[in-house]
């Protein structure tokens, strides 16, 4: 948590934030989206950036991806009330991967994310899913609160967008970029003073809270939005598929709070070993 605030004192981190935001927003324009259902749903190539940027640049990616999404709203003229939720959702998208990496007990490889070996790729997929669903939840829930879109629709589209492409391209991208960024001395853990990085024992707890809140929260809201559980919560309630809005809004509030709590408790690992070597 601490590094999310202290990074603002560091010139290189500020610059990285601006660069990540600009690349994230810029890639939307010259690189065509890949149509899933032509004319309706497209996959944004830019979505491969957040998990990779997070593992490389930590807090700069959290702020950078959030700002980049806002920039995208501004340049695409979709700047409105939803942009607030877009900001928070994308902040989670950029923050969760680096806070989860190495903190998931048996699921973690405890090594630098160079993507050598299937355990690392699996861990990458887990953090991608967690952050992707957290973002999808936040944006879809927010727009349900505003009454602009049903959770089912946005929640599923954004989830697919945030998970599918990074799952396919992300590991290769990490494998290519990690050693180079490290050599250039630009890994966030190398740039920031260790005193400015959050320390303490709450890292594992924060990570699990964020993982569970995002996956369970997203799934729960999707379920409720499809009308599931309506009969339990609202006796005498008719068809499935309707009436989910109120329950989604109500259920989503504690999920959002849990995610933010996880963020506050989250502590990144700075003692990851290089593959084959033990940490000092």
């Amino acid at each position: 948590m601490r590094e999310l605030l202290t990074m603002w004192k560091n010139t290189r981190m500020i610059v990285l934030t601006a660069l990540i935001a600009a690349v994230y927003a810029a890639v939307l324009i010259p690189f065509k989206a890949i149509p899933l259902v032509p004319g309706f749903t497209e996959i944004r190539v830019a979505q491969v950036i957040p998990p990779a940027a997070s593992l490389l640049f930590g807090p700069a990616a959290a702020w950078g991806v959030a700002m980049g999404n806002l920039l995208g709203d501004i340049m695409g003229s979709t700047f409105g009330l939803g942009s607030l939720f877009g900001f928070v959702g994308n902040f989670l998208l950029g923050a969760i991967p680096y806070m989860l990496w190495g903190r998931l007990g048996p699921l973690s490889s405890n090594q630098e994310p160079t993507m050598r070996g299937s355990k690392q790729v699996a861990e990458f997929l887990i953090v991608t899913v967690a952050s992707g669903l957290a973002c999808a939840f936040m944006v879809a829930w927010g727009l349900e609160v505003l009454g602009l879109f049903p959770f089912t629709v946005l929640g599923s589209i954004i989830a697919i967008n945030n998970v599918l492409l990074p799952a396919v391209l992300g590991p290769v991208l990490m494998a290519l970029l990690y050693p180079r960024v490290k050599r250039w001395g630009l890994l966030w853990s190398d740039i920031l003073d260790p005193a400015d990085i959050g320390a303490g024992k709450t890292g594992g707890l924060g990570a699990w809270i964020m993982l569970l809140a995002s996956v369970v929260g997203w799934a729960l809201c999707l379920f409720l939005s499809l009308g599931g559980g309506g009969q339990l919560l609202m006796p005498g309630f008719a068809q499935g598929g309707q009436g989910g809005a109120v329950t989604v809004v109500a259920a989503g509030a504690p999920v959002a709070l849990l995610l933010l709590a996880g963020l506050v408790l989250g502590r990144a690992r700075t003692d990851l070993s290089q593959r084959g070597k033990k940490a000092a």
């Binding site: 494998a175 290519l176 050693p179 180079r180 050599r183 001395g185």
Partner: protein
Amino acid sequence: MASVSEAVQLTNVHFTYRNGETPALAGIDLAVSPAEFVVILGPSGAGKSTLCYTLNGLVPKFMRGNLEGQVTIFGSPTAGERVSTLAERVGLVFQDFESQLFSTNVELEVAFAPENFGVDRAEIGRRVAECLATVGLTGLERREPATLSGGQKQRLAIASVLSLQPRMIVMDEPTTDLDPLGKEGVFQVSRRLRDQGLTMVIAEHETEEAAVADRVVVLHQGRVLAEGTPADVLTRADWLEALGVQPLGAAQLTARLGLPPALTVADAAEQLAAAGYRVDLTALPTPAPEPNAPAIVEVVGLEHRYPNGLTALQGADLTIRQGEFVAVVGQNGSGKTTLVKHFNGLLMPTAGEVRVAGRPTAGQTVLELGRTVGYVFQNPDHQIFAETVADEVAFGPRNHGVAPDEVQERVAEALAAVGLTGREADDPFTLTKGERQRVAVASILATRPQVIVLDEPTTGLDYREQRQMMDLVRRLNEAGHTIICVTHTMWVVAEYACRTIVVKDGRIWMDGPTRAVMVREAELTQASLKPPQLVRISNRLGGTLLTLGECLHALRRV
């Protein structure tokens, strides 16, 4: 002893970067007087940038490493001083203009630095107006930097450090990425600043600019090899060339002919004329008559209008035959790049026709045309992505569906052609700029195109690397490839291209054998182009000679 009156005093300065193996600066002793105009020359890796960074404190405050020796700026030692404190005395301008601009409008960019120091608003307003006037950007206050040309952006970068009213300006290769007009703009600003009394220290590759300096310093492997007036240093032309610095044509020619040294075209022409030299074109070996090779690229009435309404090409006609070595020259924005992008299908004509190997390009894809026409882009970092050099070079043939064992063969062949055999397993990101450029060429060679289009192949390379690159291109031409080289580096055109096409305002302005084009200096000036010194000297002596070799052969005493 540090003299209080000196602007810069470097005494026995050594610096090694944190992860560096050899020292970047290996014992520099240098003194610069106030209001002096010093140009620093040297090949890539000589330490020019490191030296510049030492003058404003970036070394060692930002670039981590081990600094030894005394660095004194305007009488105060820099040890322990923050970069921001030094910024009020020394302004530093970098090579890449894009990485120096932060604001969304011109005015604010110039105001940025004094804002950081809490200067009051009225004063900032005054300074902004003054600085913009000095760099010639008055009237553009509210423009977005993205809409400016490269030369304008670099001048804006200069203005943005001028607004702190420093006493010295240091520039690290400020004109490398600019076209001739842009370069001229920056040189004019430098001279204006010198006239205003600022101390100027400029690291440059453009030797012609060094000729007007007060003092020239030659750096090599972190040491000062020579310093003195331009007349002292630049006249040692052959020595400079051996070091990897481009010699002044005038100096090299007069030295070789045993005449008193000259640094300018006018002086050299005068000297040679006075000594009785005239050009005798009959002394040159007559080129073997060209068998009429088949046309490989034909352009008929080509027009190209961009979606936003801008007409980049207003009717071009030309024919390029197999085996030719053609240079396409012109200012940025003249349409030269638009023209050649039609050859491999990146652009399609909005009127007129382009035929490659007899077939119209309309209806063909870039993938199909790529089998005949390879296009090497200017910046290798805009295409390098693979883990190894071999994978990078294999990308093209794999896309073209070549079988794996043939791919391997082609990769080996291409790497051999560019002189990078044995580097297959290297990480392309660790190569030097010149090596990365050669990887880019290799990656196109591996697709075995007949025609190779090269977009500014010499940008960002020092003189020696430029020669290496162009010698490679010449070998490819001799092996049978048709070469189309887009450039604005005129000495490359003179020495390597048989035919020159000048593009201006969307039209083909001149098209002919290089010798015939280079004699038309007035027209070239209208296109903002200037033939190299040797060519201009020979033009004044009765004929057009293109290289030093030709000059030594064909200049005869009458």
